[in-house]
C-alpha cells in the first residue's frame, strides 16, 4: 500500500468518525435536522449518479422511486401498524417497490437516448404524481401521515440520522464497488459509445436496466426514510419535480460520474438550501437561489468541482515540476532536481 492510498484511507476514516459522532457533539435539533436532510440527499444523489452518472442517461424521473418508496413504506406502516425502531425494517420494502416500478419504467424509457430519454423520464414522473393524487389508496391530496414516534425529544433526530448515514455509506460503497467492476466498466462504455459497446459484447439493455433498478432501489429506501422523518407524504412533496432537479444539480456541481463529486455536491447544496430557507422567510427565494446556483455551475463549472479540481491540481503539479527542474547554473541543487518524480501527467498528454 503506498502513501497516497494510506492517506486516502486515513482521511476516509476521519470523515467516518466525524460523521458518527456528529449528532452526539452537535445536539441542536435544527442542525441535526439539517444533517438528516443532507444524508438523505447524499444517498439519493449517489444512487442517481450510480445510474445517470455512470451510464450518461440523465434521469429526471428519480422522484418516481423516491415517492414510490415513501408511499410504500407509509402505507405498509399504517396498514401493519408498525411502531418503534422496527419501522426502519420496512425501508427495504420501499426499495423493493421502487425497484419493481423501475423495471417497466426502464424498459420503456431506456429504449431512447439523450434528450428523448430525459423527456420520457419527466413524463413518467408526472404520471406517477397524478396517480398519487387520484388513487384512493394513496390518500389523494391528503397523502399519508406517519404515526407518532415516542422518542425522546432531545435526541429525536438521531435514529433518522444513523439510518440515513447507513443508507448513504451503503450507497457510496455500492457505487465504489460498481465503479471498479466489470458491470461499472460496461456502464461507462455505454456512456461513451453505446453502439460500440454493444458491438463488443456488452448487453446494453440488461446493463442499463440493472443499474436503473439498483439506483431505484436505493432511492426508494431513501424515500421511505424521508417519509418517516418528515412525517407526511403528499403527492406534490413525495413526487416532487424539484427533487429531480436538485439531485441532478448536486451531481453536476460535484462532478457527474465521479465517486466523490455527487457526495460533495449534496454536502454543499443541501445545507445551503436549508440555511437559505430559514434565513429568507420567503419560500420562493430558496428556489430562485437554486436556479442561480444551477446557472453558475453551468457557466463556471460545467464539469463539476471534482474533475475541474483534479485538472487544476495536475496543471499545478506540472508547473511545479517544471520549476523544480534544475536550470543550468541555477540555484536549485542537482540532487533535489534529480528526485523530481516522473510526472504522472506525462502519459496523459
Amino acid at each position: 500500500m503506498n502513501r497516497g492510498t494510506l492517506l486516502r484511507l486515513g482521511g476516509l476514516a476521519v470523515l467516518l468518525v466525524i460523521a458518527v459522532i456528529f449528532p452526539l457533539v452537535i445536539t441542536n435539533a435544527l442542525y441535526t435536522q439539517f444533517a438528516v436532510d443532507t444524508l438523505i440527499f447524499v444517498a439519493a444523489v449517489v444512487a442517481w449518479n450510480l445510474f445517470s452518472g455512470f451510464s450518461g442517461y440523465i434521469s429526471l424521473g428519480h422522484a418516481v422511486f423516491f415517492g414510490t418508496g415513501a408511499y410504500t413504506v407509509g402505507l405498509l406502516t399504517t396498514h401493519w401498524k408498525v411502531i418503534g425502531g422496527t419501522i426502519f425494517a420496512l425501508l427495504p420494502l420501499g426499495g423493493l417497490a421502487a425497484a419493481v416500478v423501475a423495471v417497466p419504467f426502464g424498459l420503456i424509457a431506456l429504449r431512447v437516448r439523450r434528450h428523448t430519454f430525459v423527456v420520457i423520464t419527466i413524463a413518467i414522473f408526472f404520471i406517477f404524481q397524478l396517480m398519487a393524487f387520484n388513487f384512493s389508496f394513496t390518500g389523494g391530496n391528503q397523502g399519508v401521515s406517519t404515526p407518532f414516534f415516542l422518542w425522546t425529544a432531545a435526541s429525536y433526530n438521531n435514529p433518522f440520522y444513523y439510518v440515513g448515514l447507513i443508507l448513504a455509506i451503503g450507497a457510496i460503497v455500492l457505487a465504489w464497488l460498481i465503479r471498479n467492476s466489470r458491470f461499472g466498466l460496461q456502464l461507462l462504455a455505454i456512456r461513451d459509445d453505446e453502439d460500440r459497446a454493444r458491438g463488443l459484447g456488452v448487453r446494453a439493455m440488461r446493463v442499463k436496466l440493472s443499474a436503473f433498478v439498483i439506483s431505484g432501489f436505493i432511492t426508494g429506501m431513501v424515500g421511505g426514510l424521508w417519509w418517516f422523518f418528515i412525517g407526511q407524504a403528499l403527492p406534490e412533496t413525495a413526487f416532487d419535480p424539484t427533487f429531480d432537479l436538485t439531485v441532478a444539480l448536486m451531481a453536476f456541481l460535484g462532478g457527474v460520474g465521479t465517486l466523490a463529486g455527487p457526495v460533495l455536491g449534496a454536502l454543499i447544496l443541501e445545507p445551503l438550501q436549508q440555511w437559505d430557507a430559514i434565513t429568507f422567510t420567503n419560500g420562493f427565494f430558496a428556489e430562485i437561489a437554486l436556479g442561480v446556483v444551477f446557472l453558475l455551475v453551468i457557466l463556471f463549472l460545467p464539469r463539476g468541482i471534482v474533475p475541474t479540481g483534479k485538472e487544476l491540481l495536475t496543471r499545478w503539479q506540472a508547473v511545479r515540476e517544471r520549476r523544480g527542474q534544475p536550470a543550468p547554473g541555477g540555484a536549485a541543487p542537482p540532487a533535489g532536481g534529480a528526485e523530481v518524480p516522473t510526472p504522472k501527467t506525462g502519459s496523459v498528454r
Binding site: 464497488l177 460498481i178 471498479n180 467492476s181 466489470r182 458491470f183 461499472g184 466498466l185 460496461q186 461507462l188 462504455a189 456512456r191 461513451d192 459509445d193 453502439d195 460500440r196 459497446a197 454493444r198 458491438g199 463488443l200 459484447g201 456488452v202 448487453r203 440493472s210 502519459s347 496523459v348 498528454r349
Partner: protein, 259 residues
C-alpha cells in the same frame, strides 16, 4: 478453400435509396480480402449488415456455414466477427487499458467470471493479454492514458487492438488507413499481415489503392450496392467494369484511381 464469411443476395434500402442490392461476397478462410467501390456504393452498409448494426431487407449472412443474418451486434461479435469503424470509435473517457477490458466481456464470460458482476473489471489474464496486444500494435506506453488523449492514428490502433481481445476469426476493417500518416499505414499493414499469418482472416474496406492492392489476396468491387467484380488485385484493377464503377462510363481515363 472454404468461405468463412459469405453474404447471399443481401438487400437493404433506406427510404428510396437502395444501399445494397443483392450483394454477395465471399471471404475465404485465412485470406485478406478487400472491398472497394466508389463512395456510396454500400461498403459500410454491408459491414453494418454483417455485424448486426443494420437489419437486412432480404438475403443471408453466413459465418463458417452458420446463418447469422440479423443477429445482434454482441452475438455477431461473440460468434467471431470483430469490426472497426470508419470514424474510429473508442471509449474516449476510459483509459486505453479499460477500453481493452470492455472488449474482453465475452472472453471473460467464457471463463465463468460472470458469476459475480461486482468482480473487479479485468482479471490478470485479461490484462496480460491486453498488454501483449497493445505492445503488438505499439501503443502499450499509453495503457494508462485516457483514450481521448490519443492521436487519430493511435485510436485506430487501439480500436484494432481491442477488437483482437476476443480473438475473432475474422476482422472487418473499415478504412484502416484513412487519415493516417504513411509511416503508420505501413505499421498497420505489417500488423495485418502478421495477424493473418497467425490465422486471422480479414475483410478490409479502403480507398487507399496501394494499401488494398498490396495487402489483399482477393478484391471485391461494390457498385450501387451489388458486387460487380471479384478476383485477385491484378485482375480487378484492369477490369473494365471496375473502371466504369469508379468513373462512370467516361471516355477520359487520365485519372484512374484503381491504378
Amino acid at each position: 478453400m472454404t468461405a468463412l464469411l459469405r453474404t447471399e443476395g443481401v438487400s437493404k434500402s433506406f427510404g428510396g435509396v437502395q444501399a445494397l442490392d443483392e450483394a454477395g461476397i465471399e471471404v475465404d478462410e485465412g485470406s485478406i480480402a478487400g472491398l472497394i467501390g466508389p463512395n456510396g456504393s454500400g461498403k459500410t452498409t454491408l459491414f453494418n449488415v454483417i455485424t448486426g448494426y443494420e437489419r437486412v431487407d432480404s438475403g443471408h449472412v453466413y459465418l463458417g456455414g452458420k446463418d447469422i443474418t440479423n443477429a445482434a451486434p454482441d452475438k455477431v461479435f461473440a460468434a467471431g466477427i470483430g469490426r472497426t469503424f470508419q470514424l474510429t470509435r473508442v471509449f474516449s473517457r476510459l483509459t486505453v487499458m479499460e477500453n481493452m477490458i470492455v472488449a474482453a466481456q465475452h472472453h471473460e464470460r467464457g471463463q465463468g467470471r460472470l458469476r459475480n458482476p461486482l468482480a473487479r473489471a479485468g482479471g490478470p489474464a485479461t490484462r496480460r493479454r491486453a498488454m501483449e496486444l497493445l505492445e503488438f500494435t505499439g501503443i502499450a506506453g499509453h495503457a494508462g492514458a485516457l483514450a481521448e488523449t490519443l492521436s487519430y492514428g493511435q485510436r485506430k490502433l487501439l480500436e484494432m487492438s481491442y477488437v483482437l481481445m476476443a480473438s475473432p476469426s475474422i476482422v472487418l476493417l473499415d478504412e484502416p488507413a484513412g487519415g493516417v500518416n504513411p509511416t503508420l499505414i505501413t505499421t498497420i499493414a505489417d500488423r495485418i499481415r502478421q495477424l493473418n499469418e497467425q490465422g486471422t482472416t480479414f475483410l478490409i474496406v479502403e480507398h487507399n489503392m496501394d494499401f488494398v492492392m498490396g495487402l489483399c489476396d482477393k478484391v471485391t468491387v461494390l457498385d450501387y450496392g451489388s458486387a460487380v467484380v471479384s478476383g485477385p488485385p491484378s485482375v480487378v484493377r484492369t477490369d473494365p467494369k471496375v473502371l466504369d464503377a469508379y468513373l462512370g462510363t467516361a471516355e477520359d481515363d487520365d485519372d484512374i484511381p484503381v491504378g
